[in-house]
């Protein structure tokens, strides 16, 4: 594979795309939001279990491409157990990473989420990488129903 394709399809992304973690529905979620990308048909349902200001549990189900599925999977791993504030800070950092902008200093480190650094070279795939995160933000903002990338 050419090196730039490997920048996008890193092993971790291929792995999470094929075997997404936290891929299930929660029994009694505090909130559930549908995320939808009408351009490509990707569709995820995100469930959150909030405990005070903390995200006690998070899970998702749905169908999407390798990038959007891996992003949703890695997101659930990254924010499970974190506070709502930390989750928002992570999204800010993640978004900067995707757009190749300088990351803010504060907040938790990106860790494994760094594997999405290659996405900025593929502008048409930015929405794939951020679909789950936009869905998460809608859930944290108390929105219900379906959020769309468009």
């Amino acid at each position: 594979m050419s090196s730039d394709l490997r920048d996008l399809y890193q092993e971790v992304i291929l792995d999470h795309g094929k075997r997404p973690r936290n891929f299930r529905r929660l029994d009694q979620p505090s909130c559930s939001v549908d995320g939808y990308n009408p351009l490509c048909g990707d569709h995820f349902m995100l469930d959150l279990q909030l405990d005070g200001g903390r995200i006690a549990d998070i899970a998702f189900e749905g169908a999407g491409c390798a990038i959007s599925t891996a992003s949703a999977s890695l997101m659930t791993e990254a924010i499970k157990g974190r506070t709502v504030e930390e989750a928002r800070q992570l999204f800010k950092k993640f978004h900067r990473l995707i757009l190749c902008e300088a990351a803010p200093e504060d907040g938790p480190p990106l860790g494994k989420l760094e594997v999405f650094s290659g996405v900025h070279e593929y502008p048409t795939r930015v929405k794939c990488a951020t679909l789950a995160w936009h869905t998460l933000c809608a859930a944290l903002d108390g929105q219900h129903g379906t959020v769309s990338t468009e």
């Binding site: 594979m1 291929l14 048909g41």
Partner: protein, 415 residues
């Protein structure tokens, strides 16, 4: 690439044709471009681009109103293009040709005029299950407004329309049936002559969405016996932003005007306006004059080569491509219709079409991925999206071989 003979057995010199299309000769991500997204839009030949430039440089003026020479020349070119469209469709009269922005606008025009004038509560419009959103939504909107119902002609597992079901759906309540000539999502070529014959027996007019047909086969609206035929210039080597609505004159004449404005009127006072005759009644405002002239040039170009030669060439490339793709492990065709035009829709086991598209792009291969603005078809086949390769007269066997190689690369990445 292996050298090709000057002329293929179908009599089309594809290398000569390719030389007419400047956009084909470029590198994409360091690879020669393999353009297989022709169902979305085709490329344009120098002959079309040159005609548009020539118009702007030499004849540019508004039409139908100036007494000066440039306006006279512009009007002559614009109306000349209308005559070219008439001849290409074998329509009876030039005034049956209405210039619009594209297929979508043509269908909206019929829905908003013919539909509004003829639909009432309890009436029905028929559409097929393989329609593009542009041949669903305008009908949904007018049905909702008029209290009418939208009924769907189903599609079988191969991707062919079930004509017995169409027969069953036809009734005095049906005011119009709208079907696509060539499906952009499945490649199905619908048997329009049979459909119009069935509909005619019930007195039901038929609108055909010809967007995917015009660049690939000869279309004779009288032989097909269609009442309305809609298409876009940009899918037949012409410019974007221009399209055509053909309508039988006896229907167009009874339809109320749609958009009001200049050119569509005969006289205006604040008390009363009388409307212009066909075709101007449906062409309010200054149209895309250069675009219409470009469409005329595209028709000259395609018909100069010959639609039957183009169809034979594309059929040969299509057969070669289908054979090459049949050897890709895990590849499943979506749509295996009895008669197929140059559209191949497919999925790969466990790999999302979007990822296929990105990897092929890095190989220089342009295809379309997604629902192709035909979500009901995707639902019919139980998939969210497909990858789609679509051909044009300049497509080659070597390009389909490159697609097959690219797909093996996709399998490697996801191995």
């Amino acid at each position: 690439m292996t050298p090709v003979a000057a002329a293929t057995p179908t009599g089309l010199d594809v290398e000569a044709v390719r030389r007419d299309f400047p956009a084909l000769h470029q590198q994409v991500h360091g690879r020669p471009l393999v353009y297989l997204d022709n169902a979305a839009t085709t490329q344009r030949p120098r002959q079309v681009i040159g005609e548009i430039v020539r118009f702007y440089e030499q004849d540019n003026a508004n039409i139908h109103r100036g007494v000066h020479l440039l306006s006279e020349r512009a009007t002559k070119l614009y109306e000349g293009a209308r005559e070219k469209v008439r001849a290409a469709l074998n329509a009876t009269l030039a005034r049956e040709i209405i210039f619009v922005r594209g297929t979508t606008e043509a269908i909206n025009l019929v829905a908003q005029t013919f539909g509004r004038a003829n639909l009432g509560p309890g009436d029905e419009i028929l559409v097929s299950a393989m329609e593009h959103h542009s041949d669903i939504v305008p009908w949904q909107m007018i049905c909702q407004e008029r209290g009418a119902a939208l009924r769907v002609i189903p599609v079988d597992d191969r991707g062919d329309l079930i004509l017995e079901e169409l027969e069953r759906l036809l009734s005095p309540r049906v005011k119009l049936a709208a079907v696509v000539h060539v499906s952009n999502a499945l490649g199905t070529v619908n048997p329009i002559r049979q459909i119009t014959a069935l509909a005619r027996a019930h007195g039901v007019p038929v609108l055909v969405d010809g967007a995917q047909a015009m660049a690939h086969m000869a279309v004779d609206v009288r032989e097909l016996d269609v009442d309305f035929y809609a298409f876009s210039a940009h899918k037949m080597c012409g410019p974007t932003g221009v399209g055509v609505l053909y309508g039988k004159s006896h229907l167009l004449e009874t339809m109320p005007p749609w958009q009001g404005g200049g050119d569509m009127i005969r006289s205006v006072t604040f008390e009363k306006t009388t409307y212009n005759t066909l075709p101007h009644r449906f062409e309010a405002g200054t149209p895309d004059i250069a675009g219409v002239i470009g469409l005329g040039a595209a028709i000259d170009y395609l018909h100069g080569i010959g639609l039957s030669r183009i169809a034979a060439h594309e059929d040969a490339v299509l057969a070669h491509g289908l054979a090459a793709l049949s050897e890709i492990p895990g590849l499943r065709l979506i749509g295996t219709p009895r008669r197929r035009a140059g559209v191949i829709s497919f999925v790969l086991d466990g790999i999302h079409p979007h990822d296929i598209g990105t990897i092929l792009d890095r190989e220089g291969i342009a295809i379309r991925t997604g629902h192709h603005c035909a979500q009901p078809v995707m639902q019919r086949f139980g998939i969210p999206a497909t990858a789609r390769a679509s051909l044009a007269l300049y497509s080659t066997r070597e390009e389909l071989d490159a697609l097959a190689r690219g797909l093996r690369r996709v399998l490697e990445v996801f191995a």
